[in-house]
Every structure is written in structure tokens, then in C-alpha cells.
Symmetry: C3
Subunit: 319 residues, 3 copies
């Protein structure tokens, strides 16, 4: 499926933004990821033998890095890696990101880039003679996270059209919910319930986009009611400090507010038997570990799906 | 040898503690490690082809990490690695060790864990769907170090039963000597001489255990006499600050004390021609480098044996 | 070509200094590197299958590390790596470099060493039972950089004899220009123009050596005139602080001075059509990015050539 999942610069394809993917491309990616699950079950294969991936992380994100490296190695490729490119001696000396990318492109067949600045991935893609995969550029995008979130929904529920998705938590600041919400509008009749304290409700530009694209959107601050009838509950990290700050409440009031948006066994009792709970992880308290044993708790399967999705992307870009 | 070297949790085998190993298991491990020396001499093999090991180090221990990684690669496996999981972005955000382990288990077929907290390896093993190998959990255990120590004694001396072993240094605080002393009691008629300043004599619970298991134990603060007739001298790191602090002596007195427990060419002259000197390394001054050229100085062979022992463990857990 | 590129210690060959290489050895290395470019174009090969390289970096130099690792992996070998051996737990505990090298030599078939102290590579080579490759030892040597510089000149120009080479920048402190200047004297009729502010002119001992070896040397502080007729312009990093300090000038004066040694499109107009511009990189401002698109800007090709040169060295030492 040439060209299916990637922006191109001078004929080189990149994964910079989840917004590159239309419905046909997403469905092709899901099919490829599903096939990669089979490859994983069979112990990997050798289709990327002789190919070399560089993981260039300007801020730590061990989970994302290890997931990409696992994906590459499972397909028989190899990896060169830097955990902390902030200390990249050349970066310290004032080298531009563009120069660093040009150099590393001379060492590897593709580059996974994590960078704290929005737009870094696009800048890298603009000069790289090899594919660049954006592994998060600050407040910008983290497309492979959004793609694995969406793949997990499709994988667990069998479809995305017509699903009722509840997004929970700090919807004002969460990069993952903004990106996933936009991607969901590619599908039909998705109903989104945005469950958040008023002070951290979904960002206005995302709400406007959802409405412009015809998504059904409900906003609420009552999670207990919201989960009834939901197919997917997408929980995100609660940052109590931020809640407290945003609401002007402090101490016990903030704790009480966070408690109302927490997923507990009691809340699970209100959720349908075929629904699922997702979370981009890490969690710090917003899902009670007592929920982990519930088969509807899909967040560890979700993390694992990241490997299959990244295998599909790497295979597409490198073959 | 299924089940031979590992505790099990839900059917998954782990290496958490050296105490998991009884005599039969130790002997099977030694045979397997010996075979791995042959594999190394032949340039490695491919028996772990397609298998992926994650090394997850929450504190630096480059030597242990590289030894495990070498073992995995020599058997044709692959490695994903983090040198400094303290900066694991998820750990910073407050993620539990258990969650981190569950995630990384989705990326790899086994996990080598180094963690500063006692009991961390057991906690990891309790939730991991893949084998966990303890590479040191603070004041707790470092089982592969103990196993390579014991393997080296067996490899160099041809047996362990009936040996006269002198342990030297700070026996109050040294994790390696506690673990090795316990493991030696699995064998018969081992005589242990514990050579240490009184202030840092062997920990009472270990002494009690040794006596309960019928080991012959002698304590002394005179290393020069102790080495006469010894088969194995196991030197450990002298921490002069700690000596000084423990004894109330300072400055020259502490230096003099340390000097009395140092291995020098002169001390080697008192040691039998077939005896060996071991040290878990790093050393800082407690073995004179002039001893290195002596064929009885076995500590670099000991370090190298770590690779063969870890190959044997990885092959057992992953095949 | 056994023995061709390496000093030996007890029969083990090492790459410690560029000065190990005479003309015949350099030419053999260039031929091998050229062949490695073909191997790279074909997607690598397997000639180092089963071989293991350790990269041991006591200070960060991600570029050099990744280049070596890429070279090893492109030949089918494997790598164990530490980005920051300063935090090597054993180094913290006071272990000597020699002990660390002996240990790591038990894990790998060759060691790439980066260390802040001059002479560290020679100390390592003196005790290592496996080849040591110097990846920079402080103010000492960085031989693979010099070799890739020279290879690039030969590769781009077709010869080295008789070339007119202009070296630009801080020639007092630059390790790369000292090393390259010495290496160029191995060839015939090379004319060197040393273009630098007087305060940071080429170090006296290097000038003396160049003259002793019969090189034609011109010194100037006028880059615009110097480039006319040049075959190779070797630009190096401008450290304005150092210029300012050295010259006693500050602020605008220092900026003006730096500007006079900068490579700009206007300066390129004075350069011949077949000449090339090199730079060891990273650059911070001493080459205008507007020059990058000029086919005579060879610095990114130069960086890429490092992989082929290191492949040639690794193959020579490990086969």
C-alpha cells in the first residue's frame, strides 16, 4: 500500500501527524497491524532484515522508545538508539535539529524522533532523506499513540462506526484525547461524551472541529451517569495539582473532585458487559488497580497493541 | 531441565533469589554454563533467535547490564534496554513498578530488572507474564552474582564439597558474601573462615544460618594466618569510611586496618599453589594490581564466567 | 591485510592513533572503505555475524557512537553499549579504567572507547585482550575522525597528492585539524593554507612538524583570498568566546572576526567549480545553511563516509 500512511517530502514518506490518515488509510493500517499480531504470535519474522532504525529521543519516553525498538527487532531489523539526545554532544554545542537529522539519516534507514518542541517532527521530515516517525513533539502530536488507541478500539469492538465513546479526565490539556477525538470523526455516527470538571473541559478548538465534522458530542461532569450505555471509556491522567489550580479548589475539595472521575469497581458495575476501558498510561490513581482483573480493562492490551501498530508502520515505510 | 532454576508465578518461571537453587539445580546450572563456555568459544549460536530481552535498570549497573546483554546476543537473541529507568518518564509521573513491568512485558520475552528497593524483583515477578531475572534489588538479592561466584569456584577447583573458603572484608554489609555463604551450605563439609575486623564481622543472622546448617565456621581478624591452607579466598570491597566509622578509629588507624585485609604479593606467597582469589569487583585497593598476573588471581575469569552463567539461565527460561 | 591498520599489544591490534597509518595502510583502508560503500548500497552483509562490539563512552558523543554502531550492525554484528560510562557504577566506586576494560573485554570482541583523558586509549589497549578503537581521548586523538576526513578528500577529489587544502577556524585548539594536517604530510606535494585569526593560529608544534616533513605551508588571516585556487576548504567550529578571549576583543569585534572566517554563498563564488567544503560537524554558524544545497558542500557526505571507514576498520580488526 504505497503512500498509504505517510506524508511525503521529496518522495520520502513520514509519519508526522495522525491527521495524515484518512479512513481508507486507517483501515489499511488496522489490517496490517492485525497481521502483525500474527507475526508476533509466531515469534516475529525477518522482513526488515538488513534495515536499521535510529531512535533519537530528546526527552525520555522509555515506553515509546522500547515499543518502537521491539517492533523493529520483531521484524528482523536492527536499532541504534539514544535515550537522551538532550545530552547529544552536538546539541549541547548548538547544532540545529536539522543538522542532527541529516547526520543520523546517514547512519540509519529511518528515524524515530521524540522532541519537546511542537513542530520538531515536521522540521525533521522536511530535511530527512529517510522516513521520520514522530514519537511525540511536545504539545504537538504523538501520532502512533493515537493510532494504537484507535486500533485498540477497532480490535476490541470490531468496528468504530456508531460507537459511544466517553473521554474522561483533563480534556483541556491532554494531547492524546485531542488527537483521538479528531481521528474518531473520520468514522460515522460516533457519539462522544466528554466527562470532565468544567475547569478542564475539552479545548474549544477541538469541540468546534468535532461539531463542524458532525460528531454527536455531549459534555458532562458526571462520570457515573456518562458510562451507562458507553462502549468505550477512555480515561486519562488526573493531575490533581492542575485540577486544584484550575478550579480554585484546594486540598480535600480537589481530592474529592478527582475521586468523582476515578474508575473503580463500583463504576465498572455501571458499565455494559461488552464495553472496554482504555488509558494511554501511565496512570497514577485514576484507575483503581482492583479494576485490572476485569476483562473489560483493556489498557494493558492497548499498550501491547502499540508494538503491532508500529510494526505495521515500519514495514510500510521501509519496504 | 524444566523448572530447574526458577520460582514460578502462574506458571511463569523467574530468577528472584539464589535461595531458589538446591544442589541438583545448581549442578544442572553448572553443567549448562560449562556447555555455554563451549558455545562462546565457537562464536555463539542461534538458539534464542527471535527472542527479545528487556533490561530495565532503575539504577546504573553497566557491568551487570552488559553481561546480560552479551549473554542474550551470544545466543542469537535481541535486546531492548534502558540504562536509567529512574528517568523512565512513567516512573517520574508516579507509575508503579508493577504497571511498568506489565507494559514492558508486552514488548519483550523476558525482563532483567535492577532496582534499588529490596523485594522489587519479587513484586515484579508477581505480576509479570514473562520471566523476570533479578539483577540486584538493593540490599536484597543479586542472584546471578552469587551463581557466577559459585560456578567459578566449581569451575576452578573441580568441586565445592570439602573446600576451605576464606571470606574477607566488610562481612557485615556485603550482599555478595551473605548470599554466597548461604549457597555454600548447600554443599558438604565446606569450611568457612570469616576474616574481618570485629566491627564489620559477618552479620549475626547469616552466622546463625551457617551454624544451623552445620557448616564449619571460623572467625578471625588475621587474614595472614587465615589464608594458609585455604582453597578459595573471596575478597570484597573495603570501604574505609565504613571501617573507620564502625571502629571509631579514623585516619591512619583506619588505613592500617584496611591494609591488614589487603591482598598483596606477600600474602599470595602464603597461599597454596592451587588456591584461587576471587572478588566480585569493582575493587578499589583491596587487591594489589601486582597480584593480577598471578595465575591464582581468578577474578577476571570470574567476571567473564558471568556471561556463561547468564546464557545458561536465559536459555533455560526462554526455551 | 593483516596488521595493516593497527598497533599491536601482545598480538592484539588496536586503533589508538591516526599516526599508526602510513601511506600504504591508508590506501588499503581507502580501498576497503570504498568496498564498504558498495556493501552499504546493497543493504549490508553478514561478515561480522556472531561478533559483538562494546561501545564504552565516558562522555557523550552520540554521533560517533551511532556511527560505530551503524557500521557494526551493517556488517551483521551486534552491539552492547553504554551512553554514559561516567555513571558506570564501577567507575563511581573508583574502579580503574584498566579494570573496566578487562571486564568489558570479557563481554565483547572489540571495544570502542571514548574518554575525556588524553592517553586513555593507549592505557586501555595496553591491557585489553581484544581490539580497542579510540573514539576520542580528550585533547589526544580521534583517529577515526581523521581517517574519515582523509577518505572523504580522496573519495571526492580522486587523489590527495598535490592538493591545495585550506584549513579554517580555530587552528590552535582543534584536535581534528592537528590530526588531519599531520596525516596529509604522508602524501606528496600537499599545500596547506592555514587561515585563522592570529590569536588562534595553528599550534607551533604542528607547524614545526609540517615544515619538517616538507609540506608547503602558508598562513593567512584572509579567508577570501585563501580560497581562490583551493581544492579543499576544511572549515572548523568557531568558538566566539574563545576568539574574543584570545584576541582581547569583545562583543561586536569578535562577531566581526568570526564573520570573516565564515563560509557563505558569496565566499563559495570565489571557490573553484570542482573544489569541496568539509567540516567535522557540528557547526554552529561558521557555514551558512544557504551553502548546503551547493554540490561542493561535502560535509554531510563526509559524515556519512564515517560509517564506511568504520566498517572497514571493524572488518579488519575482527576478521
Amino acid at each position: 500500500m504505497p503512500g498509504s500512511a505517510a506524508a511525503t517530502t521529496s518522495g520520502v514518506r513520514h509519519v508526522v501527524s495522525a491527521q495524515q490518515f484518512d479512513r481508507a488509510r486507517l483501515e489499511a493500517l488496522f489490517a496490517a497491524a492485525r497481521q502483525m499480531e500474527g507475526v508476533l504470535a509466531a515469534g516475529g519474522d525477518d522482513r526488515l532484515r538488513g534495515r536499521l532504525l535510529a531512535t533519537l529521543f530528546y526527552e525520555p519516553s522509555t515506553r515509546t522508545r522500547l515499543s518502537f525498538e521491539s517492533a523493529m527487532l520483531r521484524l528482523g531489523g536492527q536499532v541504534i538508539s539514544t535515550e537522551n539526545a538532550r545530552d547529544f554532544s552536538s546539541a549541547i554545542k548548538g547544532e540545529s535539529l536539522e543538522d542532527s537529522i541529516r547526520i543520523v539519516a546517514g547512519y540509519a534507514d529511518a528515524i524515530v524522533l521524540r522532541h519537546p518542541e511542537e513542530g520538531a517532527a515536521a522540521r525533521a521530515a522536511a530535511v530527512a532523506p529517510v522516513p521520520v516517525l514522530n514519537a511525540g513533539d511536545g504539545p504537538g502530536e504523538h501520532p502512533t499513540q493515537s493510532l494504537l488507541d484507535l486500533y485498540t478500539i477497532e480490535r476490541e469492538m470490531g468496528r468504530i462506526d456508531g460507537l459511544r465513546v466517553v473521554m474522561v479526565g483533563d480534556l483541556a490539556h491532554g494531547r492524546t484525547v485531542h488527537s483521538l477525538a479528531r481521528l474518531l470523526t473520520v468514522f460515522e455516527r460516533v457519539h462522544l461524551t466528554l466527562a470532565a470538571p468544567a475547569a478542564v473541559r475539552m479545548r474549544a478548538d477541538v469541540r468546534a472541529l468535532l461539531r463542524a465534522r458532525g460528531a454527536e458530542v455531549t459534555e458532562t461532569d458526571d462520570l457515573r451517569t456518562a458510562v451507562a450505555g458507553a462502549d468505550v471509556v477512555y480515561q486519562t491522567r488526573l493531575q490533581r495539582e492542575r485540577f486544584a489550580e484550575s478550579t480554585g479548589e484546594e486540598g480535600e475539595a480537589a481530592v474529592g473532585l478527582a475521586e468523582r472521575f476515578r474508575i473503580t469497581p463500583e463504576l465498572m458495575a455501571r458499565l455494559g458487559p461488552r464495553a472496554i476501558v482504555l488509558h494511554p498510561l501511565p496512570r497514577v490513581g485514576e484507575i483503581d488497580p482492583a479494576v485490572d482483573a476485569d476483562p473489560r480493562a483493556a489498557y494493558f492490551r492497548q499498550a501491547r497493541n502499540g508494538v503491532a501498530v508500529r510494526m505495521a508502520l515500519l514495514a510500510e515505510l521501509l519496504l
